[in-house]
């Protein structure tokens, strides 16, 4: 096939670093990715948006009826949704600072490259490598009343048994703790990378000025790591909105919706209650939240680049 003579506007064939091309070749090369992108990202977003404007429930045999923004009004007024959002926000703001704080502490200590620090790094990172579902079976066992290691530990101090996953007060904190256990090592890596970019001269100067470890942290490390912190906190926030695996095994969203998080609720609406209209509505809500978080994240990533 002959190279097309028609060139896109404003482009010469000798443009440095650009393969001389018409417009068909880029599109041809993009087509596998683009087709799938349109089919499984763009189209679903539009489809959910469209479906959210209708009332349709397979369980109650509700026929497809146009409802405008009625679904959204209903959702925003429903106490179940308030509970779910409250849980999700609590979960996010409970796990993010904790995970980051731990991760930062671990990274700072392990960055000192002492003997055996690599072993520590492995010990904290390995939970990232196993599936969330297996972490869930492990912690399900650990939280068991009487036999689980946590209750045994409490019993050792004479404290009474707590049915963590069966209690509406303790279930969410229990899920939060296991999530922090799973994710802290992963965020530790981000901080390790961030620390490696910090100039050693600053610390040498601080030492000469007589600043001790804590002062160095407060005035040098913590501020200098701020770009990393901001970036990692948005990653962690986004992850909280995608939390769902462990809920299937450990709590099923209960007890009494105490651990019903947004994505789990979405699954429930679609596959348990068969409320297609509401499921689409919640999908749109979730997508909007994730988009907002992603835009915020992009802002901070840009700032980070400028900072360096």
């Amino acid at each position: 096939m002959a190279e097309p003579v028609v060139q896109p506007k404003g482009q010469t064939a000798a443009k440095r670093g650009t393969v001389s091309t018409g417009w068909w070749r880029p599109y041809l090369m993009l087509s596998p990715a683009l087709v799938l992108l349109l089919a499984f990202t763009i189209y679903p977003m539009l489809s959910a948006g469209y479906m959210s404007l209708f009332k349709i429930n397979l369980a109650t045999k509700q026929q497809m009826v146009f409802n405008g923004l009625g679904n959204y009004k209903e959702l925003l007024a429903s106490p179940a949704f308030h509970q779910v959002m409250k849980n999700t926000v609590l979960f996010a703001f409970g796990t993010v600072p904790f995970s980051l704080g731990l991760a930062m502490f671990l990274a700072i200590q392990l960055n000192k490259r002492f003997k055996g620090s690599a072993i520590f790094r492995t010990l904290f990172f390995y939970p990232t490598v196993i599936p969330m579902m297996s972490a869930a079976t492990i912690w399900l066992f650990m939280y068991t009343p009487q036999y689980g290691i946590i209750n045994r530990f409490l019993g050792f101090f004479g404290l009474p048994d707590i049915n963590f996953l069966g209690s509406s007060t303790w279930a969410l904190p229990a899920i939060m703790m296991m999530t922090v256990w799973k994710d802290a090592g992963y965020f530790m890596l981000f901080y390790l990378a961030g620390l490696q970019n910090l100039p050693a001269e600053l610390y040498e100067a601080a030492e000469l000025d007589g600043a001790n470890g804590w002062v160095q942290f407060r005035r040098l490390t913590f501020p200098l790591l701020m770009p990393t912190t901001l970036f990692v906190s948005t990653v962690s926030l986004i992850n909280s909105f995608k939390t769902v695996d462990q809920l299937f095994l450990m709590t099923g969203g209960g007890p009494n919706n105490a651990t019903n998080l947004l994505l789990f609720n979405l699954w429930e609406l679609a596959f348990s209650f068969h409320d297609k209209g509401m499921a689409a509505t919640l999908t749109v809500v979730l997508v909007v939240i994730l988009l907002i978080l992603a835009v915020i994240q992009n802002q901070y990533v840009d700032k980070k680049i400028h900072y360096n």
Partner: protein, 268 residues
Amino acid sequence: MTVPVLLILGLMAAAWVIPLLWTFATSLRPPDQSVAVGSWLTTDMTFSNFQRALDYAPFGRYFINTVIIVVGVLAMQLVTATLAGFVFARMNFPGRDLIFLLFLLQLMVPAEALVVPNYTTIRMLKLVDNPIAIMLPYVASAFGTFLIRQTFRQVPKELEEAAVIDGCTTMQTLWKVFIPLARPTLVAFGLVSVSYHWNNFFWPMIVTNDPNRRPLTVGLALFAKAVEAGADWSLVTAGTVIVILPLLAVFLIFQRQFISSFMQSGIK
């Protein structure tokens, strides 16, 4: 490295590893002693739980399914991401910025949020229970595309021009110049992709009904749910060990690559 800090680290490391050790220990206990109080290692240690777990659920089948999915996804991702990454790194064409935005959108809206409409699509295509269904939403990886694009942008233009002078077509240039130079990035991406898809649960669960089509994560979940009711913890932990032992083994052997891959892709 002061002693108190080392102590704290030690305690934390213990907290991190005890769940794993506890699971291993319990999987070796006879069923009637699975929760018996006492030392972790008893004289009645047995491997029978693993045999029971394998009899209870087809973990071998789950393993094969997972491998198919993971290899399939990665192979397709490498093709689409390399082509797309090259286009964005080196080509100018009308509509480029709009398409770039679409890819960016994919990065911002993860597949997890779109399970409901995507499931409808899969059903329409009659692909339920087909491994392809599990792979499709992930094949167009914007993450991979951008990673590869970044790497390709750093390829010296002289090498590319030399190839063109030698008579290479675009595809040949891509194959002979760009891809070999991007190998570390491709390996890093591969590790991250395999990690993610091996451990993926939500979407695979939604699109599989047939027990024989389940990957390890879904199989483990349903296995644990069924067994947990009877509180046979040595069986549950045995199943868990079967699932995570290969992963941990690979991780321990290739630690450095794992950690550097995650760090590299995390910084994007």
